[in-house]
């Protein structure tokens, strides 16, 4: 296979991972902000709706997922420095040798 083939093969994987983590996590973050605004009510929303406590709970839950994603990223950087990598083989991420 030529260099172009290898590059395209790598590129679509990077694009897929990028879309999930690089666009998906920010979208979750935005959902979290939207939930918080729903929870806060009043001036936080254009509609000036009444506060809804459920919004806060959902909002912080979404932020927790985003933070988990970021921590995964940091763990990956640190782990690769020590010659390890993160495997998603068992769905739940585990640190394994490279």
């Amino acid at each position: 296979m030529s260099n172009l083939g290898f590059a395209l093969e790598g590129a679509w994987k990077v694009l897929a991972a990028g879309l999930v983590l690089g666009a998906g996590l920010p979208a979750l973050f935005a959902l979290g902000i939207r939930s918080l605004a729903w929870g806060a009510g009043g001036d936080a929303e254009v509609s000036h709706a009444r506060p809804n406590p459920a919004g806060k709970v959902i909002g912080y839950l979404l932020f927790a997922i985003v933070i988990f994603g970021v921590l995964l990223g940091i763990t990956f950087i640190v782990a690769s420095g020590f010659g390890k990598t993160i495997s998603f083989e068992h769905i739940f991420p585990t640190i394994v040798d490279k």
């Binding site: 990028g18 879309l19 920010p26 973050f29």
Partner: protein, 407 residues
């Protein structure tokens, strides 16, 4: 002290100098958006980025000794320099490295002067390629690899340079579009505050990844030079002082901040709002991390620029200054050949003078070029005070001289 020891010292100093320019050239990649949206004050942003680069550089325990192997054939596959180059106390190899590094630094400084975010890795590889062609001929360059994996100048440098900004741009555009769709109906003040926090987090991740990726290259090159002169033999590890000095050099460079480039990326391409900043930095972080996970070499600069452009495309009604983008792309295209030409010229000059004298002459040329470009930059300084000024507003403090007054 032998002749090659002095040349080795010059190589180490020059390599650290390159690492330093690498730092301040790339501060913008991580922090331009945070500075532009005022999520962080300029000085705080560069300090944070510098510290994270320092930590990142120390985390890169992995040996990057074979970094130059992808583009030039000056090493055996285990990382030791080729015997033919180390015969004379290693000075043949040292000269190639020195000339290549100088080519990289001069190009980095010139693009900084022009405020263009060009790739530091391309400048380094370009310099090395040029010096190798001059020293060993065209066959000394690994153009296309051997076809068994992504390798060579084409596979490791050119193709990723074309693909990575596009990928990053698409991811950032999708992210920006989603964010704006999701937050319709939420008050702007409420969203901006939240997104600033997200932006700081994602920009920090980019800084950390930059430290691990880029500092490694210089560490590998210094270690290669040390092996060439016989001052180090272990190909599995690098000396601690090399790691510490490279980490410090890149962190200091980052802290100094390439304000000219930060201004271009943060204000010149698109007017960035906090949601776009978050989308751009998240895209950069995800693409950089995913690529290094898959062994897909790329330049952080290309990724960051692609992401910022994408965040402009993805926001409904946002304006993208395609002329600025065009200038940048032009700079990317000529970075590799230009640095190669400088690298080759430096090698010929050093070879002409010969030996230690040649190395000293090219080093002096580097110092002169650096001093010249620094002085030029002082004529129209950009620093943390004016980095966020409006891009299109005419500079009030620079009155145009009427035509005809020049003698």
């Amino acid at each position: 002290m032998t002749e090659s020891t002095v040349i080795l010292a010059l190589v180490v100093v020059t390599a650290l100098g390159f690492d330093f320019t690498n730092g301040f050239h790339d501060t913008a990649n991580a922090m331009a958006t945070s500075i532009a949206t005022k999520a962080l004050r300029p000085k705080v942003a560069v300090a944070l980025s510098g510290i994270l680069n320092l930590i990142g550089a120390f985390l890169s325990v992995e040996v990057a000794l074979t970094v130059s192997n992808a583009v030039v054939k000056i090493q055996n596959s285990d990382g030791t320099p080729k015997d033919s180059l180390t015969a004379d106390g290693g000075s043949a190899l040292l000269l190639i490295i020195l000339a290549g590094l100088i080519g990289g630094i001069i190009w980095n400084l010139l693009t900084w002067l022009l405020g263009l975010p060009s790739s530091s890795s391309h400048a380094l590889f370009g310099g090395l390629i040029g010096a190798t062609i001059a020293g060993l001929g065209w066959a000394g360059v690994n153009w296309n690899g051997d076809g068994s994996k992504l390798d060579g100048v084409v596979g490791k440098v050119l193709l990723p340079a074309v693909l990575s900004p596009v990928i990053a741009g698409v991811v950032a555009a999708v992210g920006t579009w989603l964010i704006y769709r999701i937050t319709v109906g939420v008050a702007k003040r409420f969203t901006d505050n939240g997104f600033r926090w997200g932006q700081i987090g994602s920009a920090s991740l980019v800084s950390l990844a930059h430290g691990t990726n880029d500092a490694q290259k210089t560490m590998g090159i210094i270690t290669l030079a040390l092996i060439a002169t016989g001052d180090w033999t272990d190909t599995k590890n690098i000396p601690f002082w090399v790691k510490a000095s490279c980490a410090l050099a890149i962190a200091l460079g980052t802290y100094l901040g390439g304000w000219r480039i930060i201004r271009t990326l943060g204000k010149g391409l698109v007017e960035i709002a906090p949601p776009q900043g978050l989308a751009a930095e998240s895209s950069s972080a995800a693409v950089i991390l995913a690529s290094s996970h898959l062994g897909f070499a790329l330049s952080t600069t290309h990724v960051a620029t692609g992401s910022i452009l994408g965040s402009g495309v993805g926001k409904p009604g946002a304006q993208v200054r395609w002329r600025v983008a065009g200038r940048m792309v032009a700079a990317w295209l000529i970075t590799l050949p230009s640095a190669a030409i400088v690298g080759a010229l430096m090698w010929y000059l050093a070879d002409l003078v010969g030996g230690l004298g040649g190395a000293i002459v090219v080093f002096v040329v580097l110092l002169a070029a650096a001093a010249f470009m620094y002085l030029r930059s002082r004529r129209k300084p950009i620093d943390h005070n004016n980095v966020n000024d409006e891009w299109d507003a005419p500079a009030a403090d620079a009155p145009r001289e009427p035509a005809g007054t020049a003698v």
